[in-house]
């Protein structure tokens, strides 16, 4: 049964420091080699090698990573296995999986690596009873149940999308099967219908990040120049001494992360190294990471030192983050105030500004209220959009297929060619919810079009 190569993220979801994408099957190494370019040297068996993940054509390298190749049968599944470990950001991990799928791998079913291990004789001590459980666990029905539990309204929305896709397919098929009957099916109408499904799916995908935040926490980065009191704020928010605080600039060389619950909403607060000029290579590395983290985070808490006059660097930082969801924090108001809202001038626009003293705990409650207001209120009512990353990837693939079908119709290819593109949606839908059967399409034709002799 295992002619194909499977791929999946094999570390638990959420933003761990590291994440692993695993490939297993005949083409694991071939796909791995296309995905990953070693910095130097070549891929050898069972030896991690450092290099970069090649993004899609335009993007250039996606991330730095280690690749380890396990030649079958000396591997977990007894097949060729390639493990790519890179930064734990779900965005990166999903992209690696997506690239792998594009190169010919298939999304693994839940538990499929273990299943292969069993069938390939690796786990032959396991008794039949245990296998039974295993098979049950990997059954798609189970997956579908958990899918339902995750959000009934989500499956309803996907159900609607599915129904619309059936409609589009059946209108094209009706036109092909019954050329002598005037069914009033126009190409323009078809294009419009496909466009509408695409928009529905894009809406759903847009809700993904919001939905994920509710489960995994909203990531906020505390940013600012060195020694403006970021770590003090970090600790003050968490109410414990977590970051190492010293009066010397540059103490936080890497970054720290903690969970913070504000009025029932979960935040991942990241305290990162100060942004500014620094000669120290370790610090520079920390800053580089910081910039990337900030770009992936849902929002930025930008901290300024209110006890010193605003500098050009401060203004530059503000300009850099202005277009993100940010809150400006003017810290150290317990000291003599040299810098207030006015100093930032027009650059601040209508960005919320909170003046606090992290050290003395002044106005922290005001800040928390602001944080909640800005990042949580906007998400309310979107609880139905909790998507798994797997589902999101499938939805994105569906959009790709629909776009291809739409361009076939736009560019004047005959209906059966557009129809052929559209048929690729069927197995994708099957992986998301129930597969579309021909019978269903034909039933739809006869319920919507009056055809037949």
């Amino acid at each position: 049964m295992f002619e194909d190569t499977i791929i999946a993220i094999s570390t638990p979801p959420g933003q761990g420091g590291l994440g692993i994408v695993r490939l297993s099957g005949k083409r694991a190494l071939i796909i791995g080699k296309k995905l990953f370019r070693p910095r130097k040297g070549r891929i050898t068996v069972r030896k991690p090698i450092f290099g970069v993940i090649q993004g899609s054509n335009e993007g250039g390298p996606l991330d730095e990573a280690f690749l380890t190749y396990f030649e079958g049968p000396r591997s977990y599944t007894r097949e060729d296995v390639v493990e790519i470990s890179c930064h734990g950001s779900p965005v990166i991990l999903e992209e690696v999986v997506r690239l792998g799928v594009r190169l010919g791998a298939r999304h693994a079913h839940p538990g499929e690596f273990t299943l292969r291990a069993y069938l390939n004789g690796r786990l032959d001590i396991i008794q039949a009873e245990a296998v039974n459980d295993l098979i049950r666990a990997v059954s798609l029905t189970q997956a579908r149940i958990s899918f339902k539990q995750l959000g009934g309204s989500l499956s309803r929305r996907i159900g609607t999308i599915r129904e619309k896709i059936v409609h589009v397919i059946s209108r094209i098929e009706a036109g092909i099967e019954f050329p002598d009957e005037n069914l009033g099916i126009t190409r323009e109408g078809t294009i419009k219908e496909i466009r509408s499904v695409i928009n529905d799916i894009k809406d759903l995908i847009a809700g993904y990040d919001a939905g994920r935040s509710l489960v995994e926490g909203i990531t906020l980065v505390i940013a600012g120049r060195t020694n403006v009191g970021k770590s003090t704020l970090f600790n003050a928010l968490l109410g414990e001494e977590r970051a190492i605080v010293t009066p010397y600039p540059g103490t936080t060389r890497d970054f720290l992360r903690e969970r913070l619950v504000v009025r029932g909403a979960v935040f991942n607060i990241i305290d990162m190294a100060g942004l500014g000029r620094s000669a120290h290579p370790v610090e520079q590395e920390g800053m580089r990471k910081g910039v990337r983290l900030a770009s992936e985070a849902a929002g930025v808490l930008l901290v300024f030192d209110g006890s010193r006059p605003a500098s050009r660097e401060d203004i530059e930082l503000l300009e850099k983050f202005r277009d993100r969801s940010i809150i400006i924090i003017i810290n150290k108001i317990d000291l003599s105030k040299k810098f207030g809202r006015a100093a930032l001038g027009n650059t601040a626009g209508d960005i919320p500004v909170v003046e606090i003293s992290a050290l003395k705990g002044l106005n922290l409650d005001v800040l928390k209220k602001r944080i909640h207001g800005l990042f949580v209120s906007s998400l309310r009512g979107r609880e139905d959009m909790v998507l798994h990353s797997r589902q999101k990837i499938i939805l994105e693939e569906i959009v790709e297929v629909l776009e291809a079908a739409n361009s076939a119709f736009l560019e004047g290819y005959p209906e059966e060619v557009g129809g052929e593109e559209l048929r690729k949606v069927i197995p994708l839908i099957g992986r998301l919810t129930g597969e579309i059967s021909v019978r269903e399409v034909i039933e739809d034709i006869f319920s919507r079009f009056c055809v037949g002799k």
Binding site: E71, L115, R136, G412, I442, G452
Partner: protein
């Protein structure tokens, strides 16, 4: 043991029975074709047309396997159209109006001249079964005919019951006796019997129609024949006409719905939705202000006209009132009323892919008895049943066409793995590999197989090979010649032809191609090139699926042992008894999970048995460069 009277006995001489008989006798077997009425051999009981989407595809495939339907449709056709000319080659299909009487006579003439074939008029009352195997038939007049295999192709005759309004009478077709004893016999043997329904519209006296009220629909300027083997040019001899119902018509129908056996609940059989009666259309699509119908001549030597689109089981007086509301038909005389008919069918889940029944060996079923509708669907099954009955006698492996090989494969696989709830009609949408299963390559796909079976002559086969050579040469030519496109890029003519607005004729002319190609050959080349990317992808998918789909499900598989199977899945598997994972995959309602569990179980069992007994060397890993 005494030599049986015949190798094959075929019950019923409709489109399935005739093809079956032609195939078995051509394969050298002594065949007896039994029919209730020798005058109505190969009768077109409903519309006077053959072909259309998917059906025209079937006829081409039947033809490539040596069947008769295509040749006879060409011989007796009176108007030819290639449908979907505005679309691509994969969804184009021929359709022809045929002269019903001449089709019937032409078939009888053919059969009478086939060596080894005997025609016999009689009504079969029962099958003779010995140790679970069919070995002959008995007729109502007491005759017994013994044989090695039996093919049953009774059409709508098994317990046929005709309805016109609230009147009904037993019949297999208007005014022809039904076959009730055989129907009862099949029930007695334990077959799962379905009650199905179909219908046919009224026939009018053409001299009483005001033709000026209707829009003429001519045949094609360059008519395309069905058969690869037809050398004569086919011609258009008649016109068809298009008309519409109106609000008054719909009013009459609504007022009289209580007299419809369907709406009053007298008909319990399930009718086909793709062939709705006019009362169905008016009820289900009440927002439509009119419905289209076609006036089609039934033949050259008759004035009878078939009203395509006006199928009904309303009483005769209501049928007359309906016509009165339509300008041009207001004075038309009905020569045969429209009627509905209910009949028995056997659930096709009783069948193996060879069309032999699981229940009784050497017994084959084909045509409407398997729940299909349509002359073409019947003919295709008849041909396959005939071939397989012959192969069985010759102790050879059954002839099975896969879904990626032929529409015939799609048809039979659908029937046996999904069963039917209403009369089954083939659609191109049912084919996964629609872009490949084309009318222009049916010969390339199937003639080699037809030749191997002995159903295609050497000469016919050589012509096919010569045609493929011409096509190859032209494709090679198009791949060599270059052209600059609008952006100044240099492309081969072959690449350029992939643009949607470009036609093959332009490319051949532009490149000054010196060879000569028929329209048919040009269509084949155009499809091959325009669909190239899709065809490649499909070939890949087929080879991937073949491996898993071919995985055999052992006949003695103990479903109780398969872990994780739901009760529902077990029941489905018991009912359909799939022979392979591929067949199981297409059983409706069987979840991927269930399939996965079975596949895993079979594989695990196999490995358990093999463990230790081997040490297979690993395949060397293919490098990417």
């Amino acid at each position: 043991m005494r030599q049986p009277d015949y190798d094959v006995v075929i019950i019923g001489a409709g489109h399935a029975g005739c093809e079956a008989a032609a195939a078995t006798s051509a394969m050298g077997l002594r065949t007896c074709l039994i029919t209730i009425n020798l005058e109505t051999i190969a009768q077109m009981s409903c519309n006077p047309a053959i072909g259309g989407l998917a059906k025209g595809h079937l006829v081409r495939e039947i033809d490539a396997l040596g069947g008769l339907m295509g040749i006879l449709a060409d011989e007796t056709g009176i108007q030819f159209r290639l449908l979907n000319r505005s679309r691509g080659g994969a969804v184009q299909a021929p359709r022809a109006q045929c002269d019903k009487a001449r089709y019937r006579l032409a078939m009888r003439h053919r059969l009478e001249h086939l060596q080894g074939l005997s025609l016999y008029q009689g009504i079969v009352s029962e099958l003779v079964i010995r140790s679970g195997k069919a070995c002959g038939v008995r007729t109502v007049d007491g005759a017994a005919i013994s044989s090695r295999t039996v093919i049953v192709t009774p059409g709508t005759f098994l317990n046929g019951l005709i309805h016109i309004g609230l009147h009904s009478y037993p019949a297999g077709r208007a005014n022809e006796p039904p076959s009730n004893e055989l129907g009862e016999d099949l029930r007695r043997l334990g077959f799962t019997i379905l009650r199905l329904k179909t219908g046919t519209p009224m026939r009018l006296d053409g001299t009483t129609i005001d033709w000026a009220q209707f829009q003429a629909q001519p045949g094609d300027e360059a008519p395309v024949p069905f058969s690869f083997r037809t050398r004569k040019v086919v011609e258009n001899k008649v016109l068809c006409y298009i008309g519409y119902t109106n609000a008054r018509t719909h009013g009459v129908i609504r007022e009289n719905l209580d007299k419809s056996p369907l709406y009053s609940g007298r008909i319990t059989g399930i009718g086909p939705r793709y062939c709705p009666s006019i009362e169905d259309k008016v009820v289900k699509f009440s927002h439509h202000s009119r419905h289209q119908f076609f006036l089609e001549p039934e033949g050259l030597e008759t004035n009878e006209v078939y009203v395509n689109g006006m199928s009904s089981s309303l009483p005769l007086d209501v049928q007359k009132k309906i016509l009165e509301t339509i300008p041009g038909l207001d004075r038309a005389r009905i020569v045969r009323p429209a009627y509905g008919i209910e009949y028995d069918a056997v659930s096709p889940t009783e069948l193996l892919s060879s069309l032999e029944t699981r229940r009784i060996g050497n017994l084959y079923l084909a045509g409407q008895i398997n729940g299909t509708s349509g002359y073409e669907e019947a003919a295709a099954q008849g041909l396959m049943a005939g071939i397989n009955a012959a192969l069985k006698i010759k102790k050879k492996k059954p002839f099975i066409l896969r879904r990626d090989q032929a529409y015939i494969g799609v048809l039979i696989d659908d029937l046996i793995t999904k069963g039917v709830e209403e009369p089954y009609r083939l659609f191109t949408s049912r084919a996964e590999y629609r872009l490949y299963l084309r009318i222009d390559n049916a010969d390339k796909r199937l003639m080699p197989l037809g030749r191997a079976l002995g159903l295609i002559s050497r000469e016919e086969y050589q012509q096919q090979e010569a045609k493929q050579k011409r096509i190859q040469a032209a494709m090679f030519f198009l791949g060599q010649r270059k052209v600059k496109d609008r952006n100044g890029d240099t492309l081969t003519l072959r690449e350029y032809l992939k643009k949607p607005e470009i036609k093959i004729q332009n490319m051949l002319e532009y490149g000054k191609f010196s060879g000569s190609l028929s329209d048919e050959e040009m269509r084949a080349i155009e499809s091959e090139i325009k669909y190239e990317g899709y065809l490649k992808r499909q070939r890949k998918e087929v080879s991937r699926l073949k491996r898993t789909d071919r995985m055999k499900i052992p006949k003695d598989l103990d479903l109780e042992k398969v872990p994780g199977l739901t009760k529902e899945a077990r029941e489905k598997l018991e009912k359909y008894r799939p022979e392979t994972i591929g067949q199981a995959r297409r059983i409706p309602g069987l979840t991927p999970a269930a399939l996965f569990n079975i596949g895993v179980f079979i594989e695990a069992e196999r490995r358990r048995r093999m463990r230790g007994a081997r040490n297979v060397p690993r395949e060397t890993l293919a490098e990417d460069e």
